[in-house]
Amino acid sequence: MNDTPMIRTRGLSKAFGPLKVLRELDLDIPAGQVVSIIGPSGSGKSTLLRLLMTLERPDAGTTEIAGEPFLAAGAGCVPVPESEVRRIRLKIGMVFQHFNLFPHMTALRNVMEAPLHVAKLSPAEARQRAEETLVSVGLGDKLDAWPAQLSGGQKQRVAIARALAMRPQIMLFDEITSALDPELVGGILDLLRGLANAGETTMLIVTHQMRFARQSSDRILFFDQGVVLEDTDPETMFTNPSHARTRAFLDAVLGAD
């Protein structure tokens, strides 16, 4: 494996009206790294993920994926052709807080849809891949269930399977347990742990689950008001953070448990 980071951003900025949500973010993430992203609401965590997934467009800055130009905006930047963006985007997958399952399709079809129509697999191949992925997240018996019939935890598993079925190199998780009943959270975190341990996927996990972040990530980023205030390994982050704001945030969040 070479030294080119899987994700590299330089000067990434995004504002919604007068609100600056991301300020000139510079970030390098090596391939296979598991990164947890923590911080107060509105600090820009989700926005970073949404920009990487091209759900929003940056106001300024550049992004490279595995060394290839992916996003470019602002003065002096060479824009990247849409076809290139679409091609590179296939390396990235995302799981959402509110699942966003397709309600008019069964679990199996939800997972098959993109392999079939985007990756252009044959129906038989798409079906097989979908089945395998659903089995791997523990839903082998729910292939023909409709989203409305599934619990929150099951819905999120389908969502994870759906993203994984496209075999992305980068997985983005946007607070995927925040909308779940507490007793279902553990199951999802176990899934995430399994994925992290397999070591093949670069993972960015926006989360409030501090124990998980500490135990299962390689690196933690603390976001505050649009900048990365602290960027270090889990142990240091939780035992000896450098900034007072980091300390204050952790005290507030951990104290509430």
């Binding site: 997958g93 966003n100 397709f102 309600p103």
Partner: protein
């Protein structure tokens, strides 16, 4: 009664006109509704123009325009063609707004998920969003189809021998006015009810497996 066979023939023409009109209207509604949502001006502009013009003028005016004025510009067409075109264009304009509203009502998260999986905007619309929007469109489209059925009566005024034309002819011949019009009203009513139940059945079928309240 001896009036019935003649009226039934007229009814047959009415149903055919309505069916053709409904097909055309649905196609136009989906195309124009989607185009209006597009970010490309050359798709959005014509869509808006089409919708505003055909909603802003009445079907009868449009009918006369197609049948009497277009020939002056060299575009001649058979009355039936003009009739079906106007029925479809008129209902399609109203339908386009229904389609647009329904697509906009699909939660943003569905578009996000589709983008995250690599679907292009067009593919996301076709495969993920439109199928979901379709369910919520059905009641309003049903009303539009019934309006179209009612508008078929107008084509009698450009001499197409559908039900209303037949009724007027029989009235002039037999002077059994009340009977004729009552029968005709009942016939239209029955066809309209047919359309309404068809739409309800479609709604039930499309909401299979969905967590949706379906009106009975």
């Amino acid at each position: 009664m001896d009036l019935i066979p003649a009226l039934l023939r007229g009814l047959g023409i009415t149903v055919l006109l309505a069916a053709a009109g409904i097909v055309l209207a649905t196609i136009l509604a989906v195309l124009a509704g989607s185009a209006k949502l597009s970010r490309a001006w050359f798709l959005q502009g014509p869509a808006i123009a089409y919708i505003e013009v055909f909603r802003g003028t009445s079907a009868l005016i449009q009918l006369f325009w197609f049948y009497f004025v277009l020939p002056l510009f060299g575009i001649e067409m058979h009355a039936v063609v003009a009739g079906i075109l106007v029925l479809g264009l008129n209902a399609g304009a109203y339908g386009a707004e229904v389609v647009r509203g329904a697509v906009q009502a699909v939660p943003r998260g569905q578009w996000d998920a589709a983008t995250a999986l690599g679907f292009s905007r067009g593919a996301a619309l076709r495969r993920i969003v439109l199928p979901q929007a379709t369910l919520s469109m059905i009641p309003a489209m049903g009303n539009i189809y019934i309006e179209l059925l009612k508008n078929t009566a107008l084509v009698s005024l450009i001499t197409i021998s559908e039900l209303t034309f037949t009724a007027q002819t029989l009235r002039a011949d037999t002077l059994r006015t009340t009977e004729i019009f009552l029968i005709v009203l009942v016939m239209y009513f029955i066809v309209a009810q047919g359309i309404a139940s068809g739409m309800r059945a479609l709604e039930r079928r499309l909401s299979l497996g969905r967590d949706v309240v379906v009106r009975t």
